[in-house]
């Protein structure tokens, strides 16, 4: 039934991958074409980005709690509002692009998609290498924006026009800093487009014999759907970025209307539309939310089944729900624009489609609970993070139902309620899935186990911290606390929210400190962790059939054949409580 895949073992034998791989350090670890090395490179890049991103958020939180606090590295001591706005912009940009888009998809997806479908590498290994190094360039470009005259941009990760498109006149950081932001994100788009083509081709063409689409693990499904979303959405963002660069550098007017006057200067633009930028940006920006979270949902499905020792509840429903979320994700961008001045009639359609996304999301949640029901739950650190993911997904998802309704959005738009919502559903749930994936796959990637005691301590502190930081933000928002404010002192009622700001800052400091437990565990275990066997979690998918870490061609020349679906746990009559996808028919009895 799958002629292309049937033919693959023989063709694969002819590939250079069947050999041991390159010998030199540079070809092996720097400019490698091995998807596993590239996956780890993406992971480490995301780790660097998340460390910077968290550090920026700590500075923001300190300033919000104690606006008069002196910082040693700030000239004059006290943080200026434009500096706060720059921190906020760079925090959002680094986290959304270089962490939540990079680690789950490009990092773990790169490493495990080929192995989980039984392939020796990605379809286009050199393209894979190119994508990573373009992203690296984008990252370097983004971080350097801090050091150019005027500093980093301050128009937020959304870079709304005309604030983002008129240059220095709209604020410090809006000169060269904003241009570098645009160049960096443009490069990021190019790399992500190349990478998504690679993911899609690999999934379609490189599956092992017997790996039917409905035998693919949910992780592979979610990376596949995410790659399709990336292909369709980053292309639009790239176009928008080029248009804004032209507005800034070539005096075009895509996004600037006639008669725009900034600081008394009439701008030499005319005929553009600021809402055009918002439409293009959010046409990318909403699918982007799913690009960040779908891989996490896949990992959660995968781990809940593995550590409940139970087949995933409603596998096909989960696949269709994943596809439905991906599809609907393209029809809802206008819910970011209910109060933007867009036609109020279109709000009906955008609102209904948005509420409709709650349906497949509910299906996913019920199926996760159904997977646990009647299971045999094992509280590994990875499983704890996955269980917490379900809780965070529910909490962050439900607050979306408020914002999905234009009439309620009228009072909550741009408040901290929104900050609470997207940090719980995208940032926290996304990062919890990354932690789960790290604790789960570390043994396969590095051949050693991470320390479970440290891991659990890290889990409890992070789980408590996630809720204690972000849940109170709902109340700040309800009370009228507005996001992206450099201070909550400028006028009357905001000062009532100050005690909550102080509370959240303290919790954030403790939670950020707890992440050193993770970093310590990660780097210590690389050298000193207990040696990992092939299949320490007694899991079912193909990555556990090979040694840890896998050789250059993943399966040392013995490519697996797949006989069954990915979640055959506790099969009656089977000798063990798991049956590998590659175990021949007779083993399952």
């Amino acid at each position: 039934m799958n002629a292309g895949a049937e033919a693959s073992p023989s063709t694969q034998a002819a590939r250079p991958h069947a050999a041991g791989g390159p010998a030199g350090f540079v070809r092996k670890y720097i400019f490698s074409t091995d998807h596993k090395v590239i996956g780890i490179q993406y992971y480490l890049l995301a780790l660097a980005a998340v460390i910077i991103g968290v550090a920026l958020s700590m500075l923001m939180r300190l300033h919000l709690a104690w606006p008069a606090l002196h910082f040693p590295f700030v000239s004059g001591g006290v943080m200026r509002p434009e500096q706060y706005e720059s921190l906020m912009t760079m925090h959002g940009t680094l986290m959304v692009f270089f962490v939540l888009t990079t680690a789950p998809q490009a990092g773990f997806g790169n490493y495990f998609l080929p192995i989980q479908i039984g392939a020796p590498d990605m379809a286009f290994p050199r393209l894979n290498l190119l994508s990573f190094w373009i992203i690296f360039l984008a990252f370097a470009c983004m971080v350097s924006a801090f050091f150019v005259p005027g500093g980093a941009p301050l128009s937020g990760w959304t870079a709304y026009a005309p604030l983002g498109s008129l240059g220095q006149v709209t604020g410090p950081g809006e000169g060269l800093g904003q241009t570098m932001w645009l160049v960096s994100i443009g490069l990021f788009c190019v790399a992500t487009l190349l990478s998504s083509v690679n993911f899609i081709s690999t999934t379609i063409d490189m599956r092992a014999p017997g790996m039917r689409l409905f035998h693919m693990p949910l992780t592979v499904w979610s990376w596949f759907v995410t790659a399709i979303l990336s292909l369709l959405s980053f292309a639009v963002l790239l176009a928008a970025i080029v248009m804004m660069l032209l507005d800034r550098l070539a005096a075009t007017s895509f996004f600037v209307p006639a008669g725009t006057v900034v600081s008394g200067q009439l701008q030499a633009h005319g005929g553009g539309s600021p809402l055009l930028w918002q439409h293009l940006f959010w046409f990318f920006g909403h699918p982007e939310v799913y690009i960040a979270i779908l891989p996490g949902m896949g990992v959660t499905s995968h781990l809940l089944s593995t550590f409940s020792r139970k087949p995933l509840f409603g596998y096909k429903a989960m696949v269709w729900a994943t596809c439905a979320i991906g599809f609907l994700g393209f029809l809802v961008w206008g819910h970011h624009m209910f109060v933007s001045g867009m036609s109020p009639y279109s709000a009906f359609a955008f609102s209904l489609f948005t509420l409709a996304i709650a349906v497949p999301s509910t299906v996913e949640t019920f199926n996760w609970l159904g997977t646990l029901w009647g299971g045999k739950i094992q509280f590994t650190t990875a499983m704890l993070f996955s269980l917490a993911f379900v809780s965070l997904f529910v909490t962050g998802g439900l607050s979306g139902l408020f914002l999905a309704q234009p009439v309620v959005d009228n009072m909550l738009h741009a408040t901290y309620y929104v900050v609470a919502h997207f940090h719980l559903i995208m940032a926290m749930a996304g990062v919890f899935a990354l932690f789960a994936a790290t604790y789960f796959w570390f043994p396969k990637m590095f051949g050693r186990m991470m320390n479970e005691t440290l891991g659990k301590l890290h889990f409890w502190l992070t789980f408590a911290g996630a809720y204690l930081i972000f849940f109170p933000m709902h109340f700040v928002g309800l009370a009228g606390g507005i996001r992206r404010y450099a201070q909550f002192t400028a006028f009357g009622y905001l000062s009532r929210l100050q005690p909550l700001q102080v509370f959240m800052t303290w919790v954030a400091l403790v939670t950020a400190a707890a992440q050193f437990l993770f970093l310590w565990n990660f780097f210590w275990s690389l050298r000193h962790g207990e040696k990992a066997a092939r299949n320490p979690w007694r899991a079912t998918t193909l990555e556990w059939t090979t040694v840890s870490p896998p050789p250059h061609d993943n399966f040392a020349g013995e490519y697996p054949r797949v006989y069954r679906g990915p979640y055959e746990f506790s099969v009656p009559g089977a000798p063990e409580d798991f049956v590998l996808q590659s175990a021949p028919q007779e083993v399952s009895g």
């Binding site: 434009e82 539309s273 087949p311 109060v339 659990k456 066997a533 250059h552 409580d577």
Partner: protein, 297 residues
């Protein structure tokens, strides 16, 4: 890199895995996790129901409709939140690894259909219920006698323009914008309709009278948000967006900017003064005198 090339077997890694799973189903962990989830539910319910964080009371009929829709959504999502979190907590307690085999099941198609349809009806229904209020805010045109006021934003200030006795706004010209010479909106002095226009930095309106705002921006995007109105609207260069409301309570309310507009975003602020009919007439008369004096010089 290659350690042994034997065929991957079923029991690979059983030795390491076995002692790792020794306390995998730990009752203490299950109880602790369930307790955290229960505490989350308790705290969420307490603070949403009894917490003192709700915005101040709405001062318009539309504002009360928004509140009603908010409360309905809070109840629906609240029930879903409680059931899902406690369901998760229950599963963690009940189905922790107790040494018995898990149930072998791939799901239940009938249940799948039931919760898909239930979710669709509840969540889409919520949206349909809310549309009446949205229509009243955004789709119903203002009353013929509504007071028209222009809201004009620029980096970090609001200006409000009243048409004056002639009821007409004068022509504006971006080239004439000059806050320092007292013409922040660039009103064209050659247009007679503009000579009696009143431009002030705060918004004063009479109580129980429909107000019809026309909102736009001179530079970047700002916004007009008054919590007590439950209304928010971006001010966009190149667009004039209408927004109408009928305030029912005399008082001073904050107008704040909610759209990131640059370094002064956090302090971009003005006031909505809802005053009695007679106070409003006094205010207008006074402003007209000012503008006549200014015009006469």
């Amino acid at each position: 890199m290659r350690r042994g090339n034997k065929r991957a077997g079923q029991g690979g890694g059983a030795a390491v895995g076995a002692d790792r799973r020794g306390n995998a189903g730990s009752a203490a962990t299950a109880v602790m996790l369930a307790a955290v989830l229960a505490a989350l539910v308790g705290a969420a319910v307490y603070f949403f129901v009894f917490g003192n964080w709700n915005p101040p009371p709405a001062i318009t009929p539309i504002g009360r409709d928004v509140d009603a829709q908010y409360r309905l959504t809070l109840i629906v999502t609240g029930v879903a939140f409680i059931l899902a979190q406690l369901g998760l907590a229950f599963a963690i307690l009940r189905y922790r690894d107790r040494g018995t085999r898990a149930r072998y099941s791939h799901g239940n198609g009938k249940l799948e259909l039931i919760w898909t349809f239930a979710a669709a009806v509840i969540f889409l229904g919520l949206g349909f219920v809310g549309y009446r209020a949205w229509s009243a805010v955004r789709l119903v045109p203002p009353l013929p006698g509504a007071i028209r006021i222009e809201v004009v934003t620029s980096q970090f200030v609001y200006n409000f323009r009243y048409p004056g006795p002639d009821g007409k706004f004068g022509r504006t010209d971006p080239k004439r914008i000059s806050p320092s010479t007292g013409n922040p909106l660039g009103i064209d002095p050659n247009d007679p309709a503009g000579r009696d226009d009143i431009v002030v930095p705060t918004l004063t309106v009479p109580v129980n009278h429909q107000i019809d705002l026309l909102i736009h921006s001179q530079d970047v995007i700002h916004s007009f948000f008054v919590r007590e109105l439950r209304l928010q609207q971006d001010a966009v260069p190149g667009l004039s967006v209408p927004l109408h409301f009928t305030p029912e309570k005399i008082g001073r309310y904050d107008i704040i900017c909610t759209q990131l507009c640059g370094l002064g975003h956090y302090r971009m602020h003005s006031y909505l003064d809802v005053v009695s009919e007679s106070d409003y007439e006094n205010f207008i008369r006074q402003q007209e005198q000012f503008s006549q004096q200014a015009g006469g010089q």
